[in-house]
Amino acid sequence: MLIGLFDGLFNGISIGAVLLIAALGLAIVFGLMGVINLAHGELMMLGAYTTFVVQNAFRQFGEPFFEIYIFFALIAAFFVTAGVGLILERGVIRYLYGRPLETLLATWGVSLILQQFVRSVNWVLVIGLAVFCVLFFGGLWILNHRQNRAFHKWAIAALLPLSLGIAIAVGRFLADTYQLAVTRPWFGAQNVDVSAPTWLRGGLPLGNFQLPYARLFIIALTIVCVAGLYYFLQRSPWGLRIRAVTQNRSMSSCLGIPTQKVDALTFALGSGLAGVAGCAISYLGSVGPNTGQNYIVDTFMVVVVGGVGKLVGTIVAALAIGTVNYLVGSGTLAILFTPIQPLADFFTFFATTSMAKVMVFALIIAFLQVRPGGIFPQKGRTVDA
């Protein structure tokens, strides 16, 4: 009985930990910045693909190194997705602050682009994109730094088709010359396999049960991420600036805080955390172009239930949702209430995975009726973004 209870608790927490690590990045981007980032799931997906690439790179080094590739994968996933997040913020989102509906549509578009990108990315596409970026943005940069601004107005009109044309021509030339070697997609539409190193497979035997090492690892990783994030936000100067900007943007700006830099940094941080989450979930589930879609709804749910703008709310909400989901879905509650027949029947009805999800959503809706602001609503005067 005791061990059963412990197993239930462990499983609840481990589901919660997956939810939490996936929602942590969103808690910053959506919670602190108020940006509805529908591409969050795709950033996780990029993190998972980064893990795949690092894994394949380490496979060549042989056995002792392959066992530790996961730590490099975590770091690489963080920086790759943070980089993509930075580009996303600088390129799209900064023009849309304070316009949630446009942000929603734009990030949804970005998520579709990223999905199709990993499906069809190959050398031709990458080289073509690189050539285009160098020509177009390089050309604009040179023009901007020239004194003579006479034909500046025509720059875009001339540069855009020119660099597009050159990029496409280069791509087609490469495709014709090297054929399959460059036109073959890197990943393709198929899922790719990420195998955990041997020490992450199997589990820790405990009576009748076995605690999977992958779950233990994710719980530990989540704790490290939360602790690191807390330290960064509460103790570091940049954390202080981030908190200041989220509370009152114009006042912070008046006091000399570089809000644009802070925005970019915050968004990159949230994206980087999504990458770490992507690396973690690749040991539990599939890695494919649609991976992110499986998590996006759950992550928003966690942040909304926890209370937008409060990190501690996200933590509590993730653990609570995880535990309730497990207790209902596995039928533990039904067994617990065996003495009271109608209640037991009620919980047996909900003890399938689909129905457990229905019940969790119903509970969340009921909860949000009572407390619309979530578990820990933001207090005090804040500027509506």
Partner: protein, 440 residues
Amino acid sequence: MIKKFNRRKFLVYGSATFGTSLLLKACANDETTTTTSATNASSPTATGASGGGDTIRVGILHSLSGTMAISEQSVVDAEQLAIEEINNAGGVLGKRIEAIVEDGASNWDTFREKATKLIDQDRVVAVFGCWTSASRKNVLPVFEQKDHMLWYPVQYEGQECSRNIFYTGAAPNQQIEPSVDWLLQNKGTDFFLVGSDYVFPRTANTIIKAQVAEKGGRVLGEDYLPLGNTEVTPIITKIRQALPNGGVIYNTLNGDSNVAFFKQLQGAGLTPDRYPSMSVSIAEEEVRAIGADYLEGHYAAWNYFQTVETPENQRFVQAFRQKYGQDRVTNDPMEAAYIAVYLWKQAVEKAGTAEDLAKVRAAAYGQTLNAPEGTVTMQPNHHISKVVRIGQVRNDGMFEIVNSTDSAVEPIPWNQFVKETKGYACDWSDPNKGGRFKAA
């Protein structure tokens, strides 16, 4: 924040977009011409197949984008391989086959539109296509209304027998039922059923439950995962509660959930020696995507595996790899799609015409083919009889065939374990019987 948009700027941006779109258009056109010329070297005649030129047009209708592209792209590859082989060997009735490929985009309404377009506009004489039952059910009215012909290459839940569809995948009695028998004899009598939450797993599990009960086994639990769900901890707990000393897991999960299921099953210590699992939607391509490390020792039931040892299969695998790359694998739906093209070709040659669909249909009954999976025969109920095999996953991601039926199993489209259809059969060769009649 709204910037003034003056005329000069408008002209600049407008011309920029116009130029870009022109460029893109040019490239897009280029792309399509290259693909058609790859499948057909001679220029297509404007009148098309019905005009009786030197080509016969067939349609290929699968999802090349969206969720289902993962599976359907390789089926298209197999179909195009078969068409290319036939063309290189002289074509059908002395004419070349021209394939018109349409993208169903994983959207069932698009499937219907594209089917109408292939039939009315391109005037194709047959369509090879669809994967999900949802897409097939959506194009079915189009094919029946226009009295046209669809070749469907995927194993499915049965309970359908249309005059206008030929099913070259397995009927339930050619995949699920033999595998349950084999499990009962070799792996134990206690079952737990896991499936995705939609029509195929639920229908399949109804059959399995009836069959297991009839043969003296027990089903101790079942659960369904919403499509795309990857949190399987509650299910694993339930399996452990229902089968504390081990037992058989029958798995009808589809798509991404499989990956999560097998990864977490291994983590929880439910190994195949105590908890062997039988899957019906995991083939060679899925094994590669999940990782053989997680699947080694588990079982799958199909009619075809890449490791089938027939000379036809060696030739098929070699030809496929030569065309699409050495690291590609073949699987059951791809093989079924490949032989669909050949069966159609044989029927057309016997009928002596490709355009008269009634004649082609009548000629198709009884066609036999030495397929990669063994000898198959097209039955009057539009399904084909085929050998059923059980494979165990090896560490190289291929299947070790541990059991195969002695002879080809006759297809039974109407389910004999479900009350509504018990006793019904299908025979299109006899005009009095048709798609659903009470067998004596």
